[in-house]
Structures are given as structure tokens and as C-alpha cells.
Amino acid sequence: MQDDTLSRDEDRADAWFRALADSTRRDILRRVLRHEESVSSLARHYSMSLTAVQKHVVVLERSGLITRRRSGRESLARGDAGNLRSASELLTELESGGRDHIARIDELLDEAHDPKE
């Protein structure tokens, strides 16, 4: 039935929670949800290498929680939770409309008791 949706949602949730299991990544996400920030600028907040910060950013990006774009030589990161939430709500709303439509077709055909000639 809906196992597919369920597992996809769960995969996504898994990726989110895995991404958020690390305190540096949570901190990065908090920062880029507030405003877009370059990876090199983010790196200055932490006592770790730029490469290490970059890796955290990539994990967040893969989980879909942030997006990145290039601007000149910089890689700018920004939080995307709101965007994803909107998209998710829209699809959920569409889904309920679609389910409704299908149920009503089923009812209509049932009522009609299609003569099978």
C-alpha cells in the first residue's frame, strides 16, 4: 500500500536526524537558516579545518536541509527547511485531493453497477 511513501519519508527523516546528530552540523544549520553564509565564513566559527567544515556542509546538503549555490569563488549555504516543509505540505494536500478523486470514481462506478452485458 503506502509502504513506498512511508519508507521514502523515513529515509528522509533518517537523513535529517543523521545530519542533525552532530552538534557542529546543528550549529551550521542554525546559522544558515538565519542567513546565507559562505563555507569559508562558516569555517571561521569553528576550531576545525575548512575541509572538515566542508564535509559537515555536504552532509547537511545531502540530507536536503540546506542548499548551496556558487557565487564567484565562494560556496554559499542556506537552510531549506521552510522550503521543504512547504513542498511537503503541498504534496500532502494534493495527495488527499487525489485520494478523494479516486475514491469518488470508485463510488460512481459502484453505484452505476456497470452492466457487464
Binding site: 500500500m1 503506502q2 513506498d4 511513501t5 521514502r8 519519508d9 528522509r12 527523516a13 535529517w16 542533525l20 546543528r26 544549520l29 542554525r30 537558516l33 536536503g64 536541509l65 527547511a81 522550503n83 521543504l84 516543509r85 512547504s86 513542498a87 511537503s88 505540505e89 503541498l90 504534496l91 500532502t92 494536500e93 494534493l94 495527495e95 488527499s96 485531493g97 487525489g98 485520494r99 478523494d100 478523486h101 479516486i102 475514491a103 469518488r104 470514481i105 470508485d106 460512481l108 462506478l109 456497470d114
Partner: protein, 160 residues
């Protein structure tokens, strides 16, 4: 319950619903080809639909309005793109003004409905996608009700 599978693709804003009907493909097609049947299955039950124009041919238009409990009306249209009766049709579904001219600031979804024979019945696949995110919030404000919250809310709560 005829729905057999649902997938959401958040990146491409695409919803795919697969259903199985016991009726044959030709019978399912009739529901869409006949405006009087279509209006019985279109829109939420508390907003019964009235189909006005109905041209299910490439380049054709289907227009409809839905009437709410207070007598309020919502207008919509389909721009029919492709038709391969009785197997599939593709259309753009959008919001309209009272004269059925398109509401250009609201998003348009592209819908592909495909019907294939399956065990004497029909396998129906409905693919709905939004090509961009503009106006998305407007639609949400118009349509989304509380209660269908996704797990991202938990994340908001966790990180904010």
C-alpha cells in the same frame, strides 16, 4: 481501497498516485470524457463541481467551478495538451477568474493520467507536478489545513 501506491518527490514537486479500479479502461475513460460524470468526481465533496466547457482533445479546454457551502465559487481550467483515448491524457490545471481566464499569479500544475488494463480492471497512474515554486505559498494558504504536518516540523522544533 483502490489506491495502491503514492510517492512524493519534494525536489521536483511531483506527486504520483497509482490506483487499481475493477472497471475496464474504457469505463474509466468515460468518467473523464463525460462532463456530467467528471463533475461527480472532481473537487472535494463539500465543493461540488460544475463543468462548463469540456473539450478533451489536444489544445482543448475544460473549465469548471466548484461551489462551497456558502455559495462561494472557485474557478479552474484545464489546458488539454495530449490525448490518447482511452489510455492517457495530459493537461495543465490552473486557477481561473470568473470568466475562466487564467489566474496568472497562481501556480499551474501539469497532470498526466494514464490507464492501462490490469487483470480485467484498470491500473491508473496520476502524476501531478508543479514546474516551479512560485505561488506555492499562496496555494498553501488557500488550501492547506492544520493536521497534515510532516516530520520536518519536528526538525524545526529541534533546531530553532
Amino acid at each position: 481501497m483502490p489506491v495502491t501506491d503514492i510517492t512524493h518527490d519534494l525536489e521536483t514537486l511531483t506527486l504520483t498516485i497509482t490506483a487499481h479500479f475493477t472497471a475496464p479502461v474504457e469505463r474509466i475513460w468515460q468518467v473523464y470524457a463525460d462532463p456530467r460524470q467528471l463533475e461527480q468526481v472532481w473537487g472535494p465533496p463539500e465543493y461540488p463541481a460544475t463543468v462548463v466547457d469540456h473539450s478533451l482533445t489536444p489544445g482543448g479546454r475544460v473549465t469548471y467551478f466548484m461551489t462551497g457551502p456558502e455559495g462561494d465559487r472557485f474557478y479552474g481550467y484545464w489546458n488539454v495538451l495530449d490525448v490518447d483515448a482511452p489510455h492517457s491524457f495530459t493537461y495543465e490545471d490552473g486557477f481561473a477568474h470568473e470568466d475562466f481566464s487564467p489566474h496568472t499569479e497562481l501556480p499551474v500544475s501539469r497532470c498526466v493520467s494514464t490507464f492501462t488494463p490490469q487483470g480485467g480492471g484498470t491500473r491508473a497512474v496520476y502524476v501531478t507536478s508543479y514546474t516551479n515554486r512560485e505561488g506555492l505559498q499562496t496555494v498553501l494558504d488557500m488550501e492547506v489545513e492544520e493536521g497534515s504536518r510532516s516530520s520536518i516540523d519536528q526538525i524545526d522544533a529541534l533546531v530553532l
